[in-house]
């Protein structure tokens, strides 16, 4: 397949992603959202694996239930049954959106995602490239920091979420800031802004 054809397929995939995410945001029907979710789960299991899927979905389950609880507790203008329905719809939307992006990124190499956005202005493309390249790096660093803190007796499963996340979050932010500073220096020293 030529580069041009590959790029066209990638653009079509991106367009599909945009259309489906827009639809997911606007659709309010529980059954449509549920069908989309089931369809996506089947696709991901076929293309990737059950492990990849569970890794992606397990942190979202807690968010799903949090949204449901928030709807039940705070959306007092509706009756209980409608609140539960709204909670399920909002939760399903989050799950669907996340899996749509996962489906796209799982079937498209990172290096090609950058190429899809070649029509954007230079500065925006650069921002996008840096973001895309650093997403896995940030996750990897968070994992490394967690291991380092665990080896010093830090317990990740504390009840207090702030106390639980801070020992990882603070060094992670520090590292991200240092990394951003060095990237900015590299950009300058390689002539960025020479136009």
């Amino acid at each position: 397949m030529s580069n041009r054809q590959e790029l066209q397929i990638l653009r079509l995939k991106l367009l599909g992603l945009v259309i489906f995410t827009t639809l997911t945001i606007y659709v309010q029907d529980f059954w449509i959202l549920l069908s989309l979710l089931i369809l996506m789960i089947i696709f991901i299991i076929v293309i990737r694996s059950r492990n990849n899927l569970s890794e992606r979905v397990s942190p979202l389950i807690s968010i799903f239930f949090l949204i449901l609880i928030f709807q039940i507790v705070f959306n007092t203008s509706l009756d209980l049954f409608s609140r539960i329905g709204k909670g399920f719809i909002a939760g399903l939307k989050i799950l669907n959106l996340s899996l749509l992006v996962f489906f796209f990124t799982a079937t498209t190499p990172l290096s090609r995602i950058g190429a899809v956005f070649s029509f954007l202005p230079k500065s925006m493309r650069l921002m996008l490239t840096i973001t895309l390249s650093l997403i896995p790096v940030v996750f990897e660093e968070a994992k490394k920091i967690t291991i380092a803190q665990n080896s010093r007796g830090y317990n990740t499963r504390q009840l207090n979420p702030i106390r639980s996340i801070m020992p990882v979050l603070i060094p992670l932010i520090h590292r991200i800031l240092r990394r951003s500073e060095q990237i900015a220096m590299v950009l300058e020293s390689r002539g960025y802004g020479n136009d």
């Binding site: 840096i130 896995p136 790096v137 060095q182 020293s189 002539g191 020479n194």
Partner: protein, 255 residues
């Protein structure tokens, strides 16, 4: 006129003092002339101002790090105050200490192309291949830089500086996180580049490498030049080096 076409006059530092804060000088009254074609080593203990020294050489100070700069740095006769860092990117290639923090593109090829696109250089494909061959990474064009080993990442950073074909190349502790084999490979590349006429300025803690590869050495202590001159002469002051906390080179060590 293209900056590269000017006569090389070297990098001249005249009474340079710099501090990130007003009262605290990181570098104090530095005067030195880096001659074209030299292999210069800079060493000193942590916090002696080595990295800050390198930031002076391509205009990162005063354009990126504003701080408080006194005196003047001239690259081939052009003051770093008068032009921005992008201008000096034509003359000074920079390799930073931590390659992990320097790579931000999705492929090795894009990483190397980045500087060339900015400086609007031609023959990009040919230059990319040449640079990768130079650092002994041919065939790595489509690799994700983040998945490479540390040594390979550092070599990609060097290749990204090499493609710009700058007369000066500055490296800030390039071997700090490398094993001996990779460090040696890197110095062999630098040695070859120096033989081809490039001016190499390297910040290094391992004085064995400085002894073996450099021609001149600067030893910084608390932001001041403590010793400078011929590498063999300077690195022979055993007591002075030991008092500063700098490793005395093993002259018998075969590198």
């Amino acid at each position: 006129m293209h900056p590269g076409s000017k006569m090389k006059k070297g990098i001249r530092l005249k009474n340079v003092s710099f501090g990130y804060q007003k009262e605290h000088h990181v570098l104090e009254n530095i005067s030195y002339e880096i001659k074209p074609g030299i292999f210069l080593g800079i060493t000193g203990i942590n916090g002696s101002g080595k990295s800050t020294f390198t930031y002076l050489l391509n205009g990162l100070i005063p354009h990126f790090f504003k701080g408080f700069l006194e005196g003047e740095v001239q690259v081939d006769g052009v003051s770093t105050k008068s032009q921005n860092t992008a201008y000096f990117a034509h003359q000074v290639g920079m390799v930073f200490q931590n390659p992990d923090f320097s790579l931000f593109n999705l492929t090795v090829e894009e990483e190397i192309l980045f500087g060339m696109k900015n400086l609007k250089l031609g023959n990009t494909e040919e230059r990319t291949q040449e640079a990768l061959k130079e650092v002994k990474l041919p065939g790595y064009e489509n690799r994700d830089p983040q998945t490479l080993s540390f040594g390979e990442k550092q070599k990609v950073c060097l290749a990204s500086a090499l493609v710009l074909d700058t007369p000066y190349i500055v490296l800030d502790e390039p071997t700090a996180m490398l094993d001996y084999k990779n460090s040696l490979e890197l110095y062999a590349i630098l040695h070859k580049l120096n033989n081809c006429g490039k001016t190499i300025i390297v910040v290094e803690h391992d004085t064995d490498f400085l002894w073996q590869f450099t021609k001149e050495v600067i030893i910084l202590d608390q932001g001041k030049i403590f010793l400078s001159g011929d590498n063999r002469e300077i690195l022979s002051y055993k007591n002075k080096l030991q008092n500063l906390g700098i490793k005395v080179p093993d002259r018998n060590r075969k590198i």
